[in-house]
């Protein structure tokens, strides 16, 4: 069974983030926390993707 690379999830996570950002309803506490975790996960995946492409980490 193959494992889906994490960077394949980036577009989906970005769309989830955008849905929260553009949601006109007030943010509930749980949605705020979800947003924080989404932003962090996206940052992690973007960093991993950048290393994959460039082979080095940018400070």
């Amino acid at each position: 069974m193959s494992i889906q690379p994490d960077h394949d999830l980036l577009p989906t996570l970005r769309r989830m983030r955008e849905k929260i950002e553009f949601d006109p309803a007030p943010r509930t506490p749980s949605l705020r926390q979800l947003y924080v975790l989404l932003v962090h996960r996206i940052a992690e995946l973007e960093d991993a993707q950048m290393i994959t492409h460039s082979g080095t980490r940018h400070a």
């Binding site: 889906q4 999830l9 989906t12 769309r15 749980s30 949605l31 926390q33 975790l37």
Partner: protein, 137 residues
């Protein structure tokens, strides 16, 4: 299988826990994502369906972090803005971010980037594998 799981997940409107109190610092890690998704499925339903369509034969266990892995744990203030973070594996706190309540995203990214560097330096083997499970607690 994935699509079915996605629909089942979306249909389980189960309230698994109380909303955290806002008068004390609350720590959440990424393992809480699964529970938090239950609260606003009307907003996230489309994204979940897209997740289900990604690769139907794939397991979804890798989508969300295992609590055993090295993760960034956030601490929130009363307004649920992230104010601090620490490594779940070794407990090392991340540097204190600049306080600006209007820039939550900047605070998250500040903590994220420090955590990424910390994880790379202290919890990653030369082969690139996360070795958090091997560290002493």
């Amino acid at each position: 299988m994935w699509a079915k799981s996605g629909f089942l997940f979306a249909s389980r409107m189960v309230f698994l826990g109380e909303t955290p109190e806002t008068d004390s610092a609350i720590c959440f890690d990424n393992s809480d994502l699964r529970r938090l998704l239950h609260h606003r499925l009307e907003v996230l339903e489309a994204a979940l369906l897209e997740l289900a369509r990604l690769q139907p034969e794939q397991p979804k266990a890798h989508l969300w972090s295992s609590p055993l892995r090295t993760e960034l744990t956030f601490t929130y203030d009363a307004a649920l803005h992230p104010i601090a973070g620490k490594c779940s594996a070794c407990g090392e706190p991340m540097p204190t971010p600049p306080r600006n309540p209007h820039d939550t995203v900047d605070t998250i990214l500040w903590l994220s980037h420090h955590f990424i560097v910390h994880k790379t330096l202290k919890h990653t083997t030369s082969a690139g594998a996360d070795n958090a499970d091997d560290l002493p607690q």
